[in-house]
């Protein structure tokens, strides 16, 4: 990973984020096909919302895209032929058993940010996400909403070109959801490619630039958000939007 500095951030906002391409990607475990094969390209400005019923393969798709899992078939590639800086925010934030600020400093240290810059970057991110008052608090005693904001702050200090979020608000109350959505918009404005799963259709309407709709381990639809919500093409998506129980 490269080091992060302010000029780099400013210019990256002007460039379009790296495009993600799935080429016949499939994933199976113990002979059981769980996803795909599917092919699509995420090259719009996004944010891309990955939607679909439970078990459709949304989280799996995110993990394959992020490289946490390797596809059993096909290829995941990026537009400029090298893997961009990326980060992921999980449904249950995984925080170290340390203070909030130490969590950020650890992420910076792992990414070889010079020692002298770590504290400044970490405090900046804590301030941005409204966590300055609990900088010294052990991360694991923070509230659920604060923990998720800290996970976002940790992603923020890494200046990712791509940010994956896996149902980041499913365990949160409305106020915390609002904060997370605001953070997602900030990442988006900074020029970060956002790929986020949700099963909350209202959230998708608020955030989506385009929608990738999955059901039964297959990509049924990839369309701009307006199109998806107004005139969904696939039968599964129609049923999903009209509130039927889709399997």
């Amino acid at each position: 990973m490269t080091s992060m500095n302010a000029p780099l951030l400013a210019s990256s906002a002007l460039l379009s984020p790296p495009a993600l391409r799935f080429d016949g990607v499939a994933y199976s475990r113990e002979e059981k096909a769980l996803l795909g094969p599917c092919s699509f390209t995420l090259d719009g400005i996004g944010p891309t919302l990955v939607m679909g019923p439970n078990g459709a393969g949304k989280s799996l798709l995110l993990r394959l895209a992020h490289g946490l899992l390797s596809p059993t078939q096909g290829r995941v590639t990026w537009s400029d032929d090298r893997t961009p800086r990326q980060a992921m925010v999980f449904q249950q934030p995984v925080l170290l058993r340390r203070s909030a600020v130490a969590n950020l400093i650890h992420a910076l240290a792992v990414n070889k940010v010079p020692r002298g810059e770590r504290v400044k970057l970490a405090s900046g991110a804590l301030e941005r996400f409204g966590l300055t008052a609990c900088a010294k608090t052990p991360a694991r005693v923070l509230s659920g909403g604060q923990q998720q904001r800290l996970a976002l702050a940790r992603a923020w200090v890494l200046s990712p070109q791509v940010l994956f979020l896996d149902e980041p608000t499913s365990a949160l109350d409305p106020a915390a959801i609002k904060a997370v959505e605001a953070a997602v918009r900030e990442f988006h404005q900074r020029g970060t490619r956002i790929v986020m799963t949700t099963h909350d259709i209202h959230q998708a309407r608020r955030l989506a630039g385009d929608v990738l709709f999955l059901s039964g381990g297959a990509v049924r639809e990839h369309t701009p958000a307006e199109v998806f919500f107004d005139v969904p093409a696939s039968r599964e998506a129609q049923a999903f939007i009209s509130g039927e129980l889709v399997e």
């Binding site: 992020h66 999980f90 058993r97 792992v110 694991r140 005693v141």
Partner: protein
Amino acid sequence: MENNAFYVALSLLLNFDAPLYQIVALSLQVSLLAVLIAALLGFPLGAAVALWRFRGRGGVIVVLNALMGLPPVVAGLVVYLLLSRAGPLGEWGLLFTPGAMVIAQVVLVLPILAALSRQKVEEMLGEYREQFVSLGMSRARMMPTLLWDARFALLTVLFAGFGRASAEVGAVMMVGGNIEGVTRVMTTSIVLETGKGNLPLALGLGIVLLTLVMLINAGAYLVGEFSRRRTG
């Protein structure tokens, strides 16, 4: 009253009887040094076994777990054979010195620290793995992070190791020789003084040893409580 062994033992303790405290001090020095060395070797070893997949890993885990119950006299015998004049390390001239006792206790404690830290680190890795991979961390980079995050659990493990080292008698007796003023520690002198019928000194040392074990367990308990509050 003055012939009561328990009374004499207490007066020895309260009057800071020099031979008694010398024995206590040597015991602490030997066991603390042994636990320190065992921790420096055992914690990274445990974390490495938790992190890396290699051929024979299952065997290593079984051996470490089994060696937690290594009889002290067997550890003593092995170290004795190594350090005796004719043994491979005989040139070091360590037999019947505190150094030999430290080595024997390291042999006893190392498997405990390695096996228990392997368990703790592996548990924690299960929880952290995806986040670590997401952060682009190598296994080698994960090791210090995991060891630090498991610090409270490892401190409890350290207490367990110290408890084992300070309470055993077989190994230090065999390789130390229980030489007065040189290698005589609490456990070996309790054996000796009881045999001689010098019950007050044996009992006094017994009280100190028991208190020490109590303190160790209280420490482990407090660490557990503290870490629960810190980590929710």
